[in-house]
């Protein structure tokens, strides 16, 4: 450990925990700007803490945290080098920050949101004013309004509606065009056709002086459709943050040991294979590597999800993302950061998410059936009136367009988002967060459930197993020693002492990294630790319970005592598994843990299991199930589950889980509340049922009114009424999703 005494190029206190952020400062004269992702900000107090940490610093002109996106914008006058000091201040307040390039992380969501709201406002303005102008016209038909006045009112409503619909509907036109060009059709194709044809025929009719002018219908149709899109956007506001979370997990800086023994800071991204790095206690391993010297215990929770640290020695492999829990290590970098384990996992997640993005939403499925039928009806109407009905070309076209207007899937556009918003509210009251609009549809389709073990079915913490034959004095002595260590097994041991019983307090305990604790007692050395450290021959007393981790206590003149630990199964696990089995969802376990503990749990819960699966294997297992036609719900909470969570048909994580897993999952459940899962599935099935009902309601309106339109008897008034009544019915029906008690 002599190499630890080195020189650092800068004063460490001004450097944020994970290295310099200087490379991300955007500079314009004396005006500097930095964008940071902030981890762990949730509430008003967080806003105050984060902004307050830097707002009072000299030169800072702006420090604003966007709580929705968890991003902080910093602006200050002065030196770009202040960036590190400011970032360190925020980290000192307890929030981890990572700089990002706004060009690199898409800000397009923000832009889409703004343009949606803009379009909605324009459509709302046009719809209300066109309607205001239409009502006198409808009344005018009954009270013999002069033709000149009527045409004036219709012309003004056209002046308002035409530009508004052309502008506000761009979103739909663009999407329809993209779909058509790719040889597909989606819900936006009939919407676009309906909107544009309505505008066109209304203008022709206005010029002819006829009564069939539908400007108000076009504008209100657009308004309702946009409302549906805005609701949908709000529902999936926090999607796409998984990659940002991986960015937060990667270390930014590393310490390199130069050939002459001095230390140098470098960015983690600049590490080249072959460099020698120093990983101090508490630091994260920046890249995959091999240990050259030093012994330690590595916290693998972020990488494999296993709660018990791994003892490492020279020659052992290190994986990026492990945290050094023991002594300082020298290691050789084997891979660059971009090829390391964490980056690999981020890529798996990204690929899985892209693949899932290709699932077809319910509304698009319906429109694939709907569109050809309606267009056939419209074409039939046109041909009938042109050749058989004896109407002129313009009249035949007018009747055909009336069919399209009546059949325009306005109710469909609203049907699904309205149910989504209401159901999401019902779930939120239970503490369940949905991340994505179509999650309900996917959750309702689930026919298999795959569960992670550690942290999901179990508590993810080792606990001392009871052993009646054990000497109480041994436990008391062991707990006294264990109180001196932060090792998870030591903490579990210290916590296992029954309340009120005495713990033998000892002083001067020495911790040997990767081995155990030693205390020089009056009779000689007392040791607590691994079998080897305590001088117990391997295999002694073992075999009884392979599933458990063990710690030994050796005392002078007495036989060694064994303490066994196991990850305790959550009280709710058995109930959940029974529930799932009853629902015919064939639960199974898919874990990255070793064979022994996984099979032990699988036997207790009586479910099939796959053990020792790395992230890629987990993903492949799910893919295989998908290939068999199963719709899998994956439940997991670790970083190693992230690719599987992103790749499953639908997935769930917990608020106690790794942030990455919460972002990769579609559903986030409150910590440890396994039993909420069946509730969420019930709500989702009900939601899907309501969505289908809404589609049927919309179809009934069409079935009733399309024939009327085909005979040419639909007036603009009838169209307006049909549209508002169907939209209203569908919305009211959606409210039922929030009824009932879900506990």
């Amino acid at each position: 450990m002599t190499a630890l005494a080195g020189t650092f190029p800068s004063d460490e206190r001004t450097l944020p925990e994970q290295g310099s952020v200087l490379g991300f400062v955007d500079r314009d004269g004396a005006d500097c700007r930095l964008n940071l992702l902030v981890e762990g900000a949730h509430c008003a107090a967080c806003i105050q803490a984060v902004e307050g940490a830097v707002a009072a610093e000299p030169g800072v002109t702006e420090a604003r945290l966007n709580l929705t996106l968890r991003r902080l914008t910093l602006r200050w006058q002065g030196d770009a080098a202040d960036a590190d000091r400011l970032a360190a201040r925020i980290e000192a307040a307890g929030y981890k920050v990572v700089p990002f390039d706004p060009e690199f992380l898409e800000q397009s969501d923000q832009q889409t949101w703004r343009s949606l709201l803009r379009a909605l406002a324009v459509a709302g303005f046009a719809a209300s004013n066109a309607m205001m102008l239409s009502i006198p016209v409808w009344v005018g038909f009954a009270t013999d309004m002069e033709e000149g006045t009527r045409l004036l009112l219709q012309a003004i409503s056209g002046l308002v509606a035409v530009p508004a619909v052309l502008y506000g509907g761009r979103l739909f036109y663009q999407s329809a065009w993209n779909a058509l060009r790719a040889g597909r059709t989606n819900i936006d194709v009939p919407i676009t056709l309906g909107l544009l044809l309505t505008l066109g025929i209304s203008m022709v009719e206005l010029l002819r002086g006829g009564p069939h002018v539908y400007f108000d219908s076009a504008a209100s149709l657009l308004f309702v459709l946009l409302l549906g899109r805005v609701l949908e956007f709000r529902v999936r506001a926090r999607a796409r943050q998984t990659l940002e979370q991986f960015l937060l997990m990667q270390s930014r800086g590393a310490t390199r040991v130069m050939d002459d023994g001095t230390l140098a800071h470098l960015r983690a991204a600049d590490i080249l294979p072959g460099m020698v790095l120093l990983v101090r206690p508490g630091e994260q391993v920046p890249v995959d590597g091999t240990i050259l010297s030093g012994h330690s215990e590595m916290d693998r929770a972020a990488v494999t999800g296993e709660p018990v640290p791994l003892s490492v020695a020279p020659g052992d492999a290190l994986v990026a993302g492990m945290i050094n829990g023991g002594g300082a290590l020298h290691c050789r970098a084997d891979r660059a950061m971009a090829d390391s384990h964490l980056a690999e996992m981020a890529r798996l997640v990204e690929a899985a998410e892209t693949r899932r993005g290709k699932l077809v939403a319910l509304a698009d499925k319906v429109s694939a059936v709907w569109t050809p039928i309606i267009h056939a009806c419209a074409a039939g109407t046109f041909l009938y009136w042109l050749f058989l009905g004896g109407a002129g070309f313009a009249t035949a076209l007018l009747y055909a367009v009336a069919v399209l207007i009546i059949a325009c899937p306005c109710a469909i556009g609203l049907a699904v988002p309205a149910v989504q918003v209401v159901s999401r509210g019902a779930l939120l009251r239970l503490g369940i967060l949905l991340r994505g609009g179509d999650v309900l549809e996917r959750l309702a389709a689930v026919d298999r459930v795959v569960l992670d073990k550690t942290g999901t079915l179990t508590e993810g913490r080792p606990r001392l197993l009871r052993d009646p034959s054990r000497d109480p004095a041994a436990l008391s002595l062991a707990a006294g020693l264990a109180a001196h260590s932060l090792h998870p097994l030591a903490r579990a041991l210290a916590a296992a002492v029954p309340a009120g019983s005495a713990v033998e307090l000892v002083g001067d305990v020495r911790e040997v990294p990767g081995a155990g604790l030693e205390w020089q007692g009056p009779q000689g050395a007392v040791r607590l630790g691994s079998a080897g450290f305590c001088g117990v021959a391997s295999g002694f007393g073992a075999g009884a319970m392979e599933a458990a981790s063990t710690v030994w206590l050796s005392r002078p003149g007495l036989p060694p005592v064994c303490f066994r630990f196991a990850d305790t199964v959550r009280a709710e696990a058995a109930g959940l598994v029974a529930d799932l089995k009853r629902a015919g969802l064939a639960p199974s376990i898919l874990s990255g843990d070793a064979q022994g503990p996984v099979m032990d749990l699988a036997k207790r819960l009586d479910v099939p299991a796959v053990a020792a699966a790395d992230p890629a294997t987990k993903l492949a297992t799910l893919e295989a199930l998908r290939a068999q036609g199963a719709h899998v719900l994956m439940v997991g909470d670790g970083v190693n589950d992230a690719p599987a969570l992103a790749g499953a048909h639908v997935s769930a994580s917990f608020t106690h889980g790794a942030p990455v897993s919460q972002c990769a999952a579609d559903i986030v459940l409150p910590a440890g509340r396994l039993t909420l899962l069946p509730d969420a599935m019930r709500i989702s099935r009900r939601a899907l049922g309501l969505m289908r009902q809404n589609m049927i309601i919309a179809a009934i309106y069409n079935a009733a009114l399309v024939p009327v339109a085909m005979t040419g008897h639909v007036t603009p008034l009838a169209a307006a009424i049909a549209m508002s009544v169907s939209s209203l019915t569908v919305t009211l029906n959606a409210l039922r999703a929030g009824w009932g008690r879900w506990t």
Binding site: I47, V60, E62, Q110, R114, A121, V122, I156
Partner: protein, 54 residues
């Protein structure tokens, strides 16, 4: 009925003003962080939090 020649432009003009006001709030970023806005009312107003631009 001549009165509608005044009424309609006035109605449209007022509505248009409202629309422009909405655009201004939108471009001002007032809808960018609805969650944060809901939480910020809980903070003390006299802090320098949020920078001098407030």
């Amino acid at each position: 009925m001549d009165v509608i020649l005044f009424l309609i432009p006035i109605a449209l003009g007022l509505g248009g003003l409202g629309l422009l006001a909405f655009f201004w709030t939108l471009d001002n970023g007032q809808y960018d962080d609805l969650d944060g806005a809901a939480q910020r009312i809980l903070n003390e107003p006299d802090d320098k939090v949020g920078g001098v631009e407030r």
